[in-house]
């Protein structure tokens, strides 16, 4: 992943229309972000494993995870990430259409950093990405530093 970007975001999203929206709104909110996509859970697992295996590991700053993936349940991928020795501390935000409290609860159990339902309008989409970059993400980093110390 290139060093000219400040924030590396790895998105697991199978819907091309949703991927394009993420690109459009992220460019609007913060052009210094770089987005990489995986379209399936299997692809994500393989690519993330490979990034973590580099010397030194080349981890994304944030994983955006859709729960409804074509090949596997997003929660099982979350579980895999949290159990991976090198990926386990990477912030994971669930980005889903589900408003089901059971899904939200499960995401919390498997230690996602946050859960957001996909926004219904352009303004809300931008506002959410802005919030993730300026409020959510910095708070996770601080939390991790504290927990290490």
């Amino acid at each position: 992943m290139s060093a000219q970007y400040q924030t590396e975001i790895f998105s697991i999203e199978d819907n091309p229309a949703e991927r394009r929206l993420l690109e459009i709104f992220l460019a609007q909110v913060d052009p210094r972000c770089h987005l990489t996509f995986a379209e399936t859970g299997g692809e994500a697992s393989k690519r993330l494993g490979e990034l973590a295996g580099r010397e030194p590991p080349c981890l994304p700053d944030l994983i955006l995870l859709d729960l409804n993936l074509p090949d596997r349940d997003g929660h099982s991928l979350l579980c895999e990430i949290r159990n991976h020795p090198k990926l386990k501390d990477v912030p994971v935000i669930i980005f889903s259409n589900s408003r089901n409290p059971a899904d939200m609860g499960k995401s919390q159990t498997y230690q996602a950093n946050a859960y957001f339902t996909k926004p219904p309008s352009a303004d809300e989409f931008e506002a959410l990405l802005r919030r993730i970059l300026t409020v959510e993400l910095p708070s996770y980093r601080r939390f991790e530093r504290e927990s290490v110390a």
Binding site: N15, A17, L21, I24, N97, P120, S121, A122, F125
Partner: protein, 370 residues
Amino acid sequence: MKDFGDLISGVSQEDYKSLFQLAFGANSSLAIILQDPEGRVTFWNRGAECITGFRAEEMLGEFFGALFLPEDRTLKVPERELLEAAAKGYTENERWLHHKSDTRFWGSGINTCIRDESGRSLGYVKVFRDRTISKQTEEKINRINAELTHFIHLASHDLQEPLRMIGLYLELLKKRCGEKLDREANEFVEHAGNSARRLQTLIDDLLKYSQAGNEEESFAPADMSSIFDAVVDDLKPAVDGKKAIVTRQTMPILHVNAPQISEVFLNLLSNALKYSRAGVPPVILVDARPINSEWVFCVQDNGIGIPENQQQAIFGPFKRLHAKDRYAGTGLGLAICKKIIERHKGRIWLESSPGHGARFYFSLPRRQNE
């Protein structure tokens, strides 16, 4: 020992039994069973034989409780039934019972405790029918209904996602490419966007409708006044915009699903605001009265009213009385209300004549402490 025969003076025990046998013995669609005060069978007619599969000679002297399903016997249901009949005079009940062929049947009937002049129990008369077919039909309907509701829920959920994309891309088309499009193209985008939003509301309402029957959601005591006031607060822009006056009387605390009751008030108030007469500010009065075993709520308005021939149909799904461009809405609001109120074991109805406004009523059962 005293027996039922003692009830009719001058008739011997034996005469009485044959009289009983003559009167009820041959009836084959209705089970008629006599039990002594301990619950042992003393009379077993033809109907009881047909319905249970057990012959009179197999059952005389046995406890009727033996026909209860093992799980009911563990819970002492047979004993409780007799105790209740003894305490109240009778007990009505419906339950699965054991048939001799190792199948079960749905017995529905009444068990009456018979006492002599001094109040001493002489035993019980149990009368029941085999309602297995109607019970099975009922269970099948409930199952199909649950499947259908689940399907509506899933379908509306799956419809939401592509629709969200359509809405967002139409928005982007307008925002980012609007200048490149001519007036006609912009108008088309506008119409498509409006339709997408309408469809979104429709799907939201469908989801609410499918959830209105969801048994898992909880009931708890809630102050109806505060539920109502919160709804009025949410509707403040519409209330102010129409210069409407909304007044309510004191309402009780009831055992309800608060978000759902809030939805009912929201729909009824929105309708009262929406269907107002041109140039006449809406005046909406809401009260709650205890009537018999219910609380009856009334939402009264001074709007355009509802023609008599449409008052029944108005609670059906997708029922709209007006053109879409005159009054916005999905046609599901009152259907949602009806489903919610019925789930609360209440009723919903209306009184109205065109030009004189409408009064929407709904009732909620009172519990003993309310």
